[in-house]
Symmetry: none
Subunit: 220 residues, 2 copies
DNA sequence: TGCTTAAACCAATTCAATATTGGTGTGCCT
DNA sequence: AGGCACACCAATATTGAATTGGTTTAAGCA
């Protein structure tokens, strides 16, 4: 039998320069290069795969290194373990710092959109639409941080929040009152971001969320 | 002028059966259906969009309902969109606040375990084991926040971090030097938590992560 | 028999070309 | 002015062909 296809293969891996993603040529080409049949090459590749130095997938190819993790941040698990109080705690811990980054990195267009969301929220004729614009305001602040990972975490947080807060949508009054506490707080946040004042922005967001939290308690 | 294109459009929305994703026909078709020019239709659609009953995007179409935020709880998606610099930015924004919560809420047992992780990290004979204990230290701090949602977000952040930082494992020296900068920084963090001093804990963690970040830059 | 090779086929995936779609401008008409 | 038809653009969707790991089959060779 072909005595050491595996050794030959390892030699190839050592010598050949692989693209930065670690992909190595398809089986058919590689078999020709190494002057081996495909079946034998596959056996060697199988052992490499078994010992973890290589991973492969139909249609994608064969790669050296570790298989990319396919773990989802299980939002359902978080939802089951947490509660509205924790959600507010997490928001109070997290969002002010996101806001600080936003104040330092937001583009002019993003500041304009944040301000637009604020105005639309103030003018919202129903609570439904108010919350829609409020959500969008907070998320645009996340985008303005210019950090896609922070944005991803914020989205996760919001997904959990929506799942936890579900069902208890406010429908008591028809529309947010003109002196709704959030309006002034939103303005302070937007002002601080527009001023590029990170500390003030973080403080304003923290005050806003604390205010939301206390009103949540009042509602029960 | 066409007096009530908007009313006609709303009538269409009410009568016509939309596909379950809420997509409505493209502008050109819709204009013909309603027997209106595209420009006027666009004006009506613009108001609908402004009042939030509709969202639109180039290439996608026009949809009724809320714009779906492209929430990526998918860690792989986060990994692909982010980079090591963003990861450090997110850690610097997020972990200090988690540490603050930990200082306020940690149990005695958790403080003891955090301290234990710190000692084990100092004594680690290899970089591999050092990072293992370092990871566990940071995660125990997350547990000590007593907020399962914060912990979940921290886990997500760490999963992304591991995936992004993968492959560039340090192997230069055999073991962390005795005067490694992290050791003193870890002690400050643990002290502040043990003192129940939230602000000091957050500051210490922030200094620690900034230090890690600067050393990362030096490595290049 | 026992093992390899070559070839054909399959399903998952990628890739490139094409078609749609919202956004924008221009000229023409009333 | 304002409505309309038309042409263009950039972002997105869609489609079809090519690629790739996996599997089977048959032939070749010891």
């Amino acid at each position: 039998m072909e005595m050491d296809v595996l050794a030959k293969l390892k030699g190839f891996l050592a010598s050949a320069e692989l693209p930065d993603d670690g992909r190595l040529p398809p089986e058919r080409e590689l078999a020709q290069s190494l002057d081996v049949g495909r079946a034998v090459l596959r056996k060697a590749l199988a052992t490499l795969q078994a010992e973890g130095t290589v991973w492969r997938h139909v249609g994608k190819g064969t790669f050296v290194g570790d298989r990319p993790i396919d773990t989802f941040a299980d939002i359902n698990a978080m939802v089951q373990r947490t509660n509205p109080l924790e959600v507010m705690g997490a928001r109070i811990a997290f969002e002010p710092e996101v806001t600080r980054c936003a104040a330092l990195n937001a583009t002019g267009a993003q500041i304009a959109e944040i301000r637009n969301c604020m105005i639309k929220a103030q003018q919202a004729p129903t609570w439904r639409q108010y919350e829609q614009w409020d959500n969008r305001l907070h998320r645009t602040i996340g985008e303005a941080s210019q950090n896609s990972l922070l944005l991803g975490l914020l989205d996760t947080l919001n997904a959990v929040r929506r799942a936890v807060t579900w069902g208890r949508l406010r429908q008591t009054p028809v529309r947010p009152p003109a002196d709704h506490h959030s309006f002034a707080e939103h303005e302070q946040i937007v002002e601080a971001i527009a001023d590029r004042d990170g500390a003030a922005a973080a403080d304003a967001m923290r005050r806003h969320l604390r205010s939301v939290e206390s009103h949540m308690r009042d509602m029960r």
